[in-house]
Structure formats: C-alpha cells, structure tokens
Symmetry: C2
Subunit: 418 residues, 2 copies
Amino acid sequence: MALRDEMVNLAKKAKEAAREMAVLSSRVKDMALMEMAEALTGQIAYLVIENEKDVKRAKEMGLSAAMIDRLTLTPARIHDMARGIREVAALPDPVGRITSMWRRPNGLLVGRMRIPLGVIGIIYESRPNVTSDAAALCLKAGNAVILRGGSEAINSNVAIAQVLRQVVAKHGIPEGAIQMVSVTDRAAVYELLQLDEYIDLIIPRGGEELIRAVVKESRIPVIKHYKGVCHVFVDEDADLEMALQICLNAKVQRPGVCNAMETLLIHEKVAPVFLPQVARALEEVGVKLRGCPETRKILPHIEAATEEDWYAEYLDLILAIRVVPNLTEAMDHIARYGSNHTEAIVTRDYSRAQEFLNKVQSSTVLVNASTRFSDGFELGLGAEIGISTTKLHAYGPMGVEELTTTKFIVYGEGQIRT
Amino acid sequence: MALRDEMVNLAKKAKEAAREMAVLSSRVKDMALMEMAEALTGQIAYLVIENEKDVKRAKEMGLSAAMIDRLTLTPARIHDMARGIREVAALPDPVGRITSMWRRPNGLLVGRMRIPLGVIGIIYESRPNVTSDAAALCLKAGNAVILRGGSEAINSNVAIAQVLRQVVAKHGIPEGAIQMVSVTDRAAVYELLQLDEYIDLIIPRGGEELIRAVVKESRIPVIKHYKGVCHVFVDEDADLEMALQICLNAKVQRPGVCNAMETLLIHEKVAPVFLPQVARALEEVGVKLRGCPETRKILPHIEAATEEDWYAEYLDLILAIRVVPNLTEAMDHIARYGSNHTEAIVTRDYSRAQEFLNKVQSSTVLVNASTRFSDGFELGLGAEIGISTTKLHAYGPMGVEELTTTKFIVYGEGQIRT
C-alpha cells in the first residue's frame, strides 16, 4: 500500500507538472535543454562514479559482457548523450501548431492544435543513455516523464535524472517534469501501469519479455515493438549489384539492432545468379545462412531453415533465405511471418515497387534502400524515442511529434445547435 | 477453451480480411456501402421482426423505458441508419493518401502514407444502430471490424450484421470484414481483449462501468471516453445575451448526451447581473440548479453544490454553478474536475479567448459557441465512431481518418547506411 501511494504521488505530481509544461514557450524549453547538455558534461566525474557502482554490482552478479558494455558510461558516451540533447533542442517545437483549419456552413471556424500527450511513462532496461534521451524528447514536446530504468542501472539513472532535474528547476519548469522511479521492486512498475488517470502513454523499451509483461498489466495505452523481423525482397528485375550492397548493409552493418535484415526473399528468376553471389559475400564476413529447399538446391552446403527460422529475430550474423515464385508470395511471407517493422524491395520496375509500397502494411517500407534506414534520425525525424509497431498515432520510428496529439479548437460568434 | 478458440478464429479471419481490405479501391468500398444502405431499407420487415424479439425480452426483464426506447428499431430509424451509411460513402477515402514527403541529404525520398489500422473491435451496449454505423465507418477506412453488442440487442445486431455481410460478399470484400460476436457470454469479451496479435484497437461505447472493465482487461490499446463533464465559462466581458443562449443550448437542447454542459463557471464581475438571468431562463425549462456559496449569495433559493457535484455527469436537467474570481481559476477548476471532453468560453476579449484555447487541454475547446458542437458531424468530420478523451491519434470526436494511421514509405536508389 505504501508503494502504491508513492507511485500515485509521483504520477499526480507529473500530471500537475504536465499542465504547466503544455504552455511553456519553445525558448524556455530549448534553453533548459541546452543547459541540461552542459550539466551532463560538467558532471562527468560524478556520473562515472555513480555508474561504477552499477558496473561493479553487474560484474559481481555475473552479467554478460554485452550487458556490462551497454551499462557502462564513459566520458565519450556522456558527451554523446549531451550531443543528443542539443540535437533535440535544435528541432522545431511541435506544440501549439495549428495543423489544419476549416470553416463550417454555420460559420464556426474549426481547427486542430498540436498539444503534448501529457504524462509519459518510459520503462526500459540497462542503457543509461535512455534516461537523458527520453527526458529531453519528452520535455521538448511539453510532456512530463516518469522514468523507470532497470535495477541494474539504478545508480546511473538516478544520477543522470538528478543532474537534469537541477537544471530544469532553474528554468522555472516544475520539478514533476522529470521523475525517476528509484524503487527497484518490480511491483512499482505494476502500480504505475494501473494509473490511467494520471499517465497518458507507456513506452516500454527492452526485451520482448519485458514488453509483453507491460502490455498484459497496463491499463494505459502502450506503444511498443516486440521485435524486428525485417525482410529484403530481391525482385526478378533487381539491379543485382545494388541488391548485393543492400543485403550486405542490411545484414552486417549492425546485426544486433531491430532494423537489421533477418530474412532474405529472392525471386526464383534471379535466384540461380544472385544466390551464389550474395552467399559468398555474406559468408566472407561470417554470416551463417539457413535456406528453404529451393535455396539449398542452389546452395547445398547451407543449413536447412525450419519454420521457426521465418519468425526469428536473430540479432546476430545469421540469415534465413527463401526463394519465392513471385511478388505476391513474397508479400504473403512478410504478412505471415513479419513483425510490422521494416521491409525493403529491390527492383527496377516502378509499378512493382509501388505495389509493394502500397500492399505491405509494415511500419516502414523501402524501395531500393537498406532496412537500416528505419530509424528516426535517418528518416529525418531528428531524434527517436523508439519504434512503434502498434498502429496508433505513431507507427514506425517515433520522434518528438509522436509525443504529441491534437485537440479541436473552435471559434464561434454565438453559434448554438438546433 | 472452446470459447477462446472461437474468438481466436474470428479474430484471425478478421486479420486476414484486413490485409485484403487495406488495398480495396475507394470505388469498391463506396459501391458496397451504397448497397448496404439499400439492403437495410429493403429488409425492414425482417429487421423489425428480429428486433421485436429483443424488445419483448427486454420488457419481460423489466428494463427501463429509456433502455427499451434505445433498443427499439422502427422503419424510420432503419432509414436513418441507411442515410448514415450513404453519408459515409460520400466521404473522401483517407487510405493511400501521402500526408507528407521530404528528401534526405543522401537522396532518400521519405513520405508518410495513410493506411487502415487493421482490425477494430467495437464493444457497445443497446443501440443497434451502432452496428451499421461502425461497420460502415470501418469499411470506409479499410478496416475489418469485430462487433460485440449487448446481449439485450443480440437478435437485432445479428440480423443487421447478416444483411450487411451479404452485400459485402457480393462485392468481393472478404467475409471476415464484418464480424459479429454472437456469443452473449461476457467471457467472450474478455477473450477478445487478449488477442493483441490480431486486433489493433478497441473502441468501447457505453456506460462508464463497461468501459472501465474493458480498460482493465485489454492488452489492446483502448480509445474511449468515460464521461463528459463539460464546462461553459462566462468571462467578465462576455456578451451576456450570447452567453445566455449558449448556456441554454448547452444544457437543455439535449441534456442526456456527453457534450451537454454539466457545470457553469461565471466570472465574479458578471455574476450579479448574469446569474439571475441565466437561472430564470434555465429554471423556466425545468433545470435544477446547485451552486457554490458565492452563487447562493445571489441565488439563495438554490441547492448547495457539494464536492461531488463538480465531478458529476448528470446527463439530466441539473446544473452545477460556480462563481470564480478570474480566468485562471476557471481553468484550474476545469483541469481539476473536468473529463478532458469539451469546454467553452464566452468572451469578447480576443487575448483571453486565445489563452483559454491554448491552456485548456480538453479534446475540444470552443470560443463563443455551444459545447453541443463537439460532435464529429458538427465539426465537419462527416461521421463519428465515438469521442476519445484518450490522448492518442484520436482526441475528441473520431471520424473516418481516426480509423487510420500512417506508415513510412521510402524511395531509394541503392542507398546503404554507413
């Protein structure tokens, strides 16, 4: 009960803060952001010391080297965090913009005005940089944020949030604007997820298990993606040299991220020529291939793909390959096994490209480009708070604008309804 | 377990249908809609007979006269339903529209294309017209719909859905497009709410209790409003004759709906003059008034308002009245007691009107117009599937466009990420 009260108090404070934040001027927000960036780099020694406590405990607990790496804050990483905040400051402010306006026959002037969502809860794991990224993006869009990082990074997260909050307070931004849940008990998350009266949106970032647990318990809308099973389809008239470069980039440029290619689909007409080329290039850089029966007729040395492989998000140097008889079956495969994340077609045929763009319902669909561009910064959103495969106001990479909604505004001259 | 399987099958069929529906041409959808309207009026006798079964049972069960009225289908009401569908057919098709497009420094052409949400679950009570309204709006926006009406209207709803499905099938639209849950067991709703793999959005329409139960159980995002505690604020420099007409209209034109005024806020400078006028006009048409202490100094004959009155959605000829010392306290009252639905200010001062429009975060904010205009049709959206006080892609009245989202489309010429 004490925990519940603590979370309610925190959420109430956030909601109160959100009301004031909704009408902050862009100038106040941007100046606070610039100073937040400065404060982080000014406090490197303190942040590193706090982070070392987390790293020490993580080592004692035997966490994997990859996890410890993600957890570790170095001066260079703190400078990156500061740069991220400055980039957010430089973005246009979405709040207050009138997105459209029209006049009704009775003379009413009706418009839509962009407003903050209100209070956003971010539930995340290990990487402490999410703390500053999320705080900056939410502030820019006029939202209060409740941050709940993983217990393994608690000292780092609390330290970062504290540095940021001190700056915010100096600019007259209410102290409820950035809140960190310092209770490491998982029950705290559960309590937060019940507070739909105070919190408008939950964004979980982390493994599929964490996200599924959040979705199950939350009374608040959740925007998330479980995984990225991204496809590249090499069409019959693809430029094969272009296709090769795109496949290599999509698979190996950074295999551990959600927009890396996990399954390659190849039109049967180009398979005999293209498969040996792409296999050679991928295997040279260490990629393990798993193929459908048709693929293995051409590449008999590779492992057979099982049904599970088509659903797999390897996040590793492994690739599933399937030969398909036509564009329709490529799209059927994507609809069946895909995760609504990102898909690309390589083709020289404009009408087939257009068909793929129109029919594939994933959140990002590309023609003749690497799946790795499915990223808020790369697409031009400026910065990213996550990727959504939930079909709401945000679908695909989410930037500052996706942390807002619109309200109706109406100017009348005494109109009443008859 | 059988129930669970039944719901999964139904949701799977809807998801398969949704994939085909996403690429239906506007012409096919509109022709089907026009014929759906015709089929309803052509089958009046059948629909009335089925409805009589529900009405008979409702009477036996002793339902209130108001509930029985809402449940009853007459030929005139069926003609209204048909007209509603024709109006939806006449709306522009949002699907496939490119909402914006920009070029990145690396030459990538990035855009956003409007697409259907996918599968929408509508959970509603009594009024059988929701069945045809929701089916039409969802079809127009390219979504499959799963309809789950109240058990009291089961025969009517099944009959309406059957008439509509027959038409849809003739136009080559998949039969999963419009599905009606005919199981009246409440457990069916619970099972549906778990199926976030197949269903993209839940829209509950009905009493607050129903909606809270849906929000609690759902793993799928829910767009809803619990209630409409709408305010009119009469400012110090309001045109008092205009204010009187707006207050009367907002309170009595249709008191039983969510956009009717429930609390009147009056600036203390005009209270002595305006309160007696507005009280007389409202009491003449049978409105019972409840006031704050300041109000009762001027209107000693009225009942005292309690703390509960400020939160109340009366849906009846009752009005709470509060005198406030200034605009800020009016807005504070709205933030504290309001429901994010609809608020109006009556003022001749442009800068105060603008302050109210900017600072009040409710989904519809009006200047010098009745709260009764907070309605999809009145605001120019064409038709309405509900009103959202959830701050997502829909906030306020929801039309066809709010049944869609956007995906990113990217045209490249072989770009890879470096």
